[in-house]
Symmetry: C2
Subunit: 720 residues, 2 copies
């Protein structure tokens, strides 16, 4: 095993002074953001005043102090990604930056006080998410080291393991790998091929890779830096397989060479995150002491007898995996940060760049185009929704991990929340960054403006820490379980009532009666027909009703599954797999909407409340518009109301929000050192001003050439 | 200016023998594709036999010979991108590869016979598109050299220019830049800031960059390799600005240093296409002879008098730009090639990789999951639609550029086709590659499997050669013009009839009458209700009706524009900009659907016709499903029929097509040297087989451990 001396990392750059601790959090009545070194724009064309500082404070959330401390550190150049570094340089730099994080005391927070930590789970995740601003590779490599490797020792191991291995994991003396995924098994962890077989004779585990598909793969720290690993393998003792458990396995000696029986490969260049040395590992009858089983949820004694505090192998497995939910929490939060960065860049450029004239010889600012607003403002609304939803998620996570609210049902809720939000936010971040890239044209394609690299790095977020499509199926299954539970409790009367409701509804929908009534009431008044969906209660009703109806429909279709042989039940589920996933998405979107709405209710400043209400409406109506066919087919919206939603977005919400777009991104409180995109830090404005002054000066001096068109028009006039 | 000797490029690698000419095109009755070295899969679970060779032949299209010759060349390793090369190495390698293309005689085809060409425009583009398989950077850098720089000399210049500059442009003695775009003006070319002012005294043009925003930017060959440029500038003579014209301007001397008055910058690292040395250029009173104006569409004599064969400055400008449409043609085709590559990789991996068991202890092949089918099969259908639509596009292009069908209206149609298809296919390619990446999980993120780099390279296709959102507005304007033209011709009677129709329709829709009638007829029979939309005529009617209705609605809303002051008219258009773009998209999708349907009608093989019909239905119904809300709100589909479309896709089309997925990608005729993705060339299959054999052997030898679950179940049984 590595000695501490051999792997302590020194900061790569010198001794630039840096605040060891965060600046104190800004109170709600903070100084204008401009004084904090953050851009402060004023709305033109709106009479509403925003309190950007208060809005920023709200977005920062409960762990504002941790976030701000982390952001302050991420302003330092020695944490920033260097775009032109090749893979090798990136890997070394990021490893050095992990050492810097240790030096700045940024990594212990989530760990017990006895190991120098603060038992502060929410604060740890919050500060960790902000690392993305400097380099997503650094964020994820930190995640491997402290969020996965060290956390597995903490949560799956027991006292002896903590004492033995946590200190070196925390201070990076032992860079570690989290060896769970295999080439042949990613999302289906329970089927990994690696085995850990107990050998009574030597009182050791024999870790073994039986075939190529069972090689550990995509493992961060595996290609180069990992000295040890937490290896997930099928625990076999006395001829029985007790399922997947975690084992502590030293990987490399002091020279960085693999120990006997261990081999591996470099995953090589990837689509992004090349600051992480992902690689493959395989084990040929590698022996470790019996005590290297991380035995919080399952132990083996010297006779090979297995015991566990959790009797059901299924529940035990999910409990073990559940301790790793923080990966999903932090990816969700990182995507919020990335979306804030991308929208800031695109909105700033869109507020300065001009293209095509307005019919009056003035070139139009991009964000004054309706299409440009349609592209950016709903994504800004989504970023806000994701930010508020993440705060709810983080609260839940902190409650469970601090033990404050840690019942089985809390843990179940937390996992469902993770499985619902992580897919939505990882996909949304890719979409938002891509739209920002396209909305900034050729500039957006240059490395100097960061968007392409950000997207490349975040690409894998959609499929790691649980493939999005797999996670959403977990959500759907939970929704179905809850649904069937509510029936199990229902007495016959309630059941009959429910069935009657369903029948009535079916009749109503099929004949189009409900819609027809609505149509008549709406007739002729767009304002009134949209008035209905504009208010909070109606949006909630529409969004909730869709989720509930989809769940009920699915439950009806899958009702027979419990009576079928396993294989036929699986086939039945598969025939509705797409609907399952769409239902889970609808549920996740509702959670985001509820979080946004809840945040809205806390806003005290009148201007903020007004603008945030429009933004929430844009988010909510956008969800309804996206699924408009469902609402109309199911009789929830009349044709007229359905059409009015699009008109209301285009004609009312976009023009109202447009003047506040810059302020809404100012509230993200990103400084120039976080943004680091040429086009978002003043360059474009200077270019536009210079060009306008040039033409103005030409005209003033009578040196502007006449346009051939104007000449021809003048000649025609003379001829007449 | 560079001498020929100084810049002739030698192939970087040695003298590996290579066929100078293509293999002869395969006749329609070709040998099985397996004999051509292409994978040949058989459908399992379907009784239908496909003739994959015939299907492949149809996809290859009219310029099959050119395509196959280019593909044969692209099998050579010395054309392949090296994933680990840094930007500098990539740039040098790609320049060398352009030299190789010259050596192989691949680049002259589109040019006149007197310059060694064949006047074969369609064949040139077809062969050029296939370069993408080796490296998109090589494709685009070739496009800069021959498709833009040399083509501008050919199409905008006259005889003297051809004689003077084409030979060196064609054989790469003079690498050239196409200096149109400026930092401040991309899509709005007519507003570029660079000026070319005629100086009578010296009989020269003075090329000048008046401010920073007028620097030429993103220009391929500008950072390093360009010896000369075609520079677009405002032509000013005798105090009149005659609009943008092209000028031939030498850039660098034999040592590669900028000539006097010329400066520039490297655009540096980009999100992709780093084999191209994009850069910036600026000109300080740079003088070139009067004869350096490429004067096909506008000349200036020694007295500074301007003349042009096209009187209208507007039409003249669009005619000049129109000669450059081949950029859009070839991007459309390149996206078809990229989509074929991505779907091949994802479908192959999806046919081998297994995940989660089927309830019967067998792991399920990914492509047997409904969701996986939903993700990949519609994108496969779209790839076919794009391929057939591109063939129509290429025919039109070849007709115009060969002079065979070259009327004003042909040119106008060609440009509209370009503006409609290029946005759809560039966006689709990004979507298809991304879904392929996610569908292949962690493997898809590795550079070894190519998808991430392919996506990164194609990212910029969405905004170069015309920003997609700008191009679609051109399409919408054309649709509106055609619409108003048809009214201009209409007599009062027709007009009244039309108005009456509109009113009736409005009444019908508003009251929901038409839909209600349909609903009753459909009641209870999903099969019958989907029968309606399944046939070709109904799909056509639905898709066409939507485009026509959207155009008519827009025309109604924009009717007053012609009477408004320019600025107010622009504002009115802006209020409907999003609808304009959506209308143009609908039109482009209809064109793709028509092309697919037309191709279908030519299929003789019964099995091919059946499977392609399902694939076309999947494409067509997919379009309708995507816009389902529109169809229901506008009374075109009853709720019942609308719902039946999704069911029909999920329950019928996907299961029918799934067995043929591999064959449908086999028909793309990509060889292993084109695919070059580890997971699509047999590796995964071998891993799966090894794993299955391992477990089978354990069981056979009685060495498999008992599962704790099974043990518990057995104990329970015993206890009872």
């Amino acid at each position: 095993m590595a000695t501490r001396e051999s792997s302590v990392r020194e900061p790569r750059t010198g001794d630039a002074p840096v605040a060891e601790h965060a600046e104190p959090a800004q109170p709600a009545t903070a100084a204008p953001v401009a004084e904090q070194g953050v851009e402060a724009h004023k709305a033109e064309g709106s009479t509403i005043q925003l309190d950007v500082a208060a809005l920023g404070e709200q977005l920062m959330g409960r762990w504002a102090e941790s976030r701000r401390a982390s952001r302050e550190l991420m302003r330092r150049e020695d944490f920033h990604r260097i775009p032109t570094d090749d893979m090798h340089a990136q890997r070394e730099r990021v490893l050095g930056q992990l050492g810097l994080l240790v030096a700045h005391g940024s990594v212990h927070r989530a760990f017990p006080k006895e190991f120098g930590g603060e038992d502060d789970h929410g604060g740890f995740i919050a500060s960790f998410e902000e690392l993305l601003l400097a380099d997503p590779s650094m964020q994820i490599k930190s995640g491997v080291q402290w969020g996965l490797y060290a956390s597995a020792i903490l949560h799956l191991g027991t006292e002896q393991h903590h004492q033995a291995w946590l200190p070196d994991a925390l201070d990076l003396s032992t860079p570690g790998a989290f060896a769970m995924t295999e080439t042949g098994h990613g999302s289906d962890v329970s089927a990994v091929g690696t085995t850990a077989t107990y050998d009574e004779a030597s009182d050791e585990w024999v870790i073994h890779t039986p075939f190529r598909a069972a090689w550990k793969d995509y493992i961060g720290n595996a290609a180069l830096h990992g000295k040890s690993a937490v290896v997930f393998a099928q625990l076999i003792t006395r001829g029985v397989n007790h399922g997947v458990h975690a084992f502590y396995v030293p990987l490399r000696d002091e020279n960085g060479d693999f120990l006997a029986g261990i081999g591996g490969e470099d995953d090589g260049l990837k689509g992004g995150l090349n600051g992480i040395d992902n690689g493959r590992l395989h084990f040929s009858q590698v022996r470790v002491p019996r005590t290297h089983l991380l035995n919080r949820y399952g132990s083996v004694d010297e006779n090979g007898v297995y015991t566990s505090p959790i009797t059901s192998p299924g529940r035990r497995f999910f409990t073990m995996l559940g301790t790793l939910v923080q990966g999903r929490v932090s990816l969700d939060g990182a995507c919020v940060v990335a979306s804030k960065l991308a929208t800031t860049i695109a909105v700033r450029y869109g507020s300065e760049r001009r293209q095509f004239d307005d019919g009056d010889d003035n070139e139009v600012v991009l964000l004054d185009y309706q299409r440009h607003q349609r592209r950016l403002l709903p994504r800004l609304a989504q970023t806000y929704a994701m930010s508020f939803a993440h705060e709810v998620f983080l609260e839940k996570f902190d409650g469970v991990f601090s033990g404050r609210t840690d019942t089985d049902s809390d843990r179940e809720d937390l996992e469902t929340l993770a499985a619902a939000l992580k897919p939505l936010s990882t996909w949304a971040a890719l979409d938002i960054i891509q739209e920002a890239r396209e909305a900034t044209g050729g500039q957006g394609f240059l490395a100097a403006n960061r968007l392409t690299q950000l997207r490349a790095d975040l690409d894998i977020y959609a499929t790691f820490e649980g493939d999005n499509n797999v996670l959403l199926q977990l959500v759907a299954k939970r929704l179905l379980t809850d649904y069937s539970r509510s029936f199990a409790k229902a007495d016959a009367g309630v059941m009959a009532h429910y069935v009657a409701d369903q029948v009535n509804e079916a009749v109503m929908h099929r004949s189009g009666l409900r819609r027809l009534v609505q149509s008549v009431a709406d007739f002729g008044s767009t304002a009134r027909s949209v008035g209905y969906v504009r208010d909070t209660a109606s949006q909630r009703q529409l969004l909730t009703d869709r989720v509930e109806t989809m769940v009920a429909e699915l439950a009806g279709k899958l009702r027979s599954a419990s009576k079928l042989p396993k294989k036929d039940a699986a086939a039945l589920f598969n025939r509705h797999q797409n609907a399952l996933i769409e239902t889970a998405k609808a549920h996740g979107e509702l959670l985001q909407w509820e979080a946004f709405t809840e945040a809205l209710e806390k806003v005290e400043h009148e201007g903020n409340r007004q603008v945030l209400t429009w933004l929430r409406d844009l988010f909510g109506l956008g969800l309804i518009e996206k699924n408009l066919a469902w609402y109309v087919i199911h009789g929830r919206l009349s044709d007229h109301r359905a059409q009015a939603i699009t008109d209301y977005i285009d004609d009312r919400l976009l023009p109202r929000l447009r003047p506040h777009a810059l302020e809404l991104t100012d509230a993200f409180e990103l400084r120039d050192e976080h943004i680091r995109a040429d086009i978002a830090t003043g360059q474009e404005r200077a270019r536009q001003e210079e060009a306008r002054e040039y033409y103005a000066s030409l005209r003033a001096r009578g040196l502007a050439p006449i346009d051939e068109k104007d000449l021809l028009a003048a000649q025609k006039k003379r001829a007449v």
